[in-house]
Amino acid sequence: MTQLSLQHVIKRYGSYTASDDVSFEIPKGKIFGLLGPNGAGKTTLIRMITRILYPDSGTILFDGELLCDKHTERIGYMPEERGLYKKMKVGEHLIYLARLKGLSLAEAKEKVNYWLNRLEVTDWYLKHIEELSKGMSQKIQFIATVLHDPELLILDEPFSGLDPINSKLIEEEINRLSEQEKTIIFSTHRMEQVEEICDDIVLVNKGRKILEGEIKELKQRFKENKFRVSYRGELSDGVLDKLHVLSQAEGSVVVQFSEEHHGNDLLKLFIEQEVEVTAFNEILPSINEIFIRQVEQS
């Protein structure tokens, strides 16, 4: 099942093309990473999905239907640049935002209480927004995004400004929502978070999609046959000469193989050397490495 499908989406600002024929699909219930360097066109894509902007051409389908304004009530968006009315109180502010998403006053109140309770911040209800710290208002932002129980959540840098404890809390909430079959678009620069959280990613640069796929599959696709062997004992001289050694340290060596070789070949070599192999693993590229390489190439 596809939650969201972008087909040949183009958006131009004057002569500048912010989104150049971008197509990808987001399956239901997955956590989807939308990645790209600054100015790559991520925000433009998100704004088109949230109906803030309209594509010049191409189509966006939401749950199989052509995306239109009524769908915005089924989307929760937490922008990277976010803010709240400083003079309002936490409770009334959340109720206001929930009502703008189509909830009735009673529903809004109920949801606000539920979420304040859930994130253990019930006593903030009557606090003014301006009294909150950055991390605190971040939590309120998160609640505002999920209050109306959206099917699709768009989180742009949701962890920025959060301390490790609150980061953990939000991450748990994200995972919990994912278990509830919510689809989540996750946009960030922090690649270690992407690997930790996302199932699929799409990488954009200069308005174009340059990479798309499942994280596991991508790591396989971009692997470079690198292996690390840790061992005890002495290798005889010249053994490593035939290999492409990337780095070597006391009792450990990183080797790159050509395509036709196999991890077992390397292991065999070490076993024949009569040294004790303590660890043997393939080094897969991190998403960060893939990201940098792809951006540089594009």
């Binding site: 309209y54 922008p79 803010g83 009315y85 009502r99």
Partner: protein, 441 residues
Amino acid sequence: MNKIWIIIQREYITRVRKKSFLLITLLAPLGFLLLTLFSVLISSYSQDKTDVAIIDESGLFSDTPIPDAEDETVYFHKISDNYEKLSAELAKKDDKQPKYEAIIYIPKNFDLNSPNKPGIAYRYVKRPGLSKRSFINQRMTDALQKLRMSLLHINEQQIEDMQQKVTLNFESLNNEKEKQGYADAAALVGMVMGFAIYISLFLYGTMIMKGVMEEKTNRIVEVLTSSVKPFQMLMGKILGVGAVGLTQFVLWILLMFGVNLISGAIFGIALSHPASGMGQLQNSGVEPDDILAITQNISSLPILQIVILFPLYFLGGFFLYGSLFAAVGAAMGEDGDQQSLMIPITIPIIIAIMIAINVINNPDSALGFWGSIIPFTSPIVMSALLPFRPEWWQIALSLVLLIGGFLLTTYVAAKVYRAGILMYGKKIKLKEIIRWIFSKS
């Protein structure tokens, strides 16, 4: 529609419950009261007394009275001192309180037939103000006139008879209600209405603009635009602030009634005191009789028309300019440093009030006609014109154009607003705004 209503509620409630709202609402009439009190006080104390010595060497004026000022500001003293001696005495700077502040010196060879050659000198210690100078000049001219007439053997009574003035009764032929003094009443009411719109456009226009800037600066727009259309946000804000303005006006009118009672009592005392209240009224050129005529004529103004049309022009003007102020707020940089963007909307408002001031003296002028037709000036100019009973087709045309005008500005403003609110970090140039206006949505 429902969402606009939710936005209106927030805009309204958050503003009305602010302490500053309460403070301004309460203090403005109080300020008004203080201002009236202050001006009465100033007029009674600032008009200091001037003693003028008259040394008449020619002896011509000895039998002609030169009366003191009615408002107790100038006193004339005919004395027979030596001119040179007295002027030397007065010229001494160390004298803090001289006997006389000035000397009118009429030379020995003063000739009634050529009163400026040799002329009468006015030598002062303290420089007289403009109004005092013209008052003294007038008194001397009057005295001269009387003197010459008496030389022609015309007696006091005859002089008075000769000087009687006539006041024409200006009354309309085709409208029996326009009695004498009607134009004054109409001008007063028209000006009050014109100014009410003028002030509220600036007051609530800036309120809208600041609201938009605040939303842009603290980035709440990012969150809001994913829930509501920019047009809904724009409308919600304008209507919400409009409701705040309405509340404030109603409160002010109620408070003014209260203040009026108090200041009326004070004014009553002031009026019975010729030195202060009367003097002030005379200075402004309004005779007490005129005030009576104005109050009597207010009831004969086209009240029904005014009651229906004035709110329409008020709303029309508010919507027309409110959306433009919102657009400027959206286009303004986060630090609000591009005040120049306000010029295109403040200039027409100022022009409108200038036309309105002109129109109340010249209700049938071409300037007034065009001012009352063009939507950018019509709310203020037409409001000032309403008491003068403009033609019905003129009102109809003006209203149609005003509605068209505000639809157009709202359309244009919505485009600028839409593009502007999500644009930060860079200065927005006028060229760019024009591009937004003409871009497809």
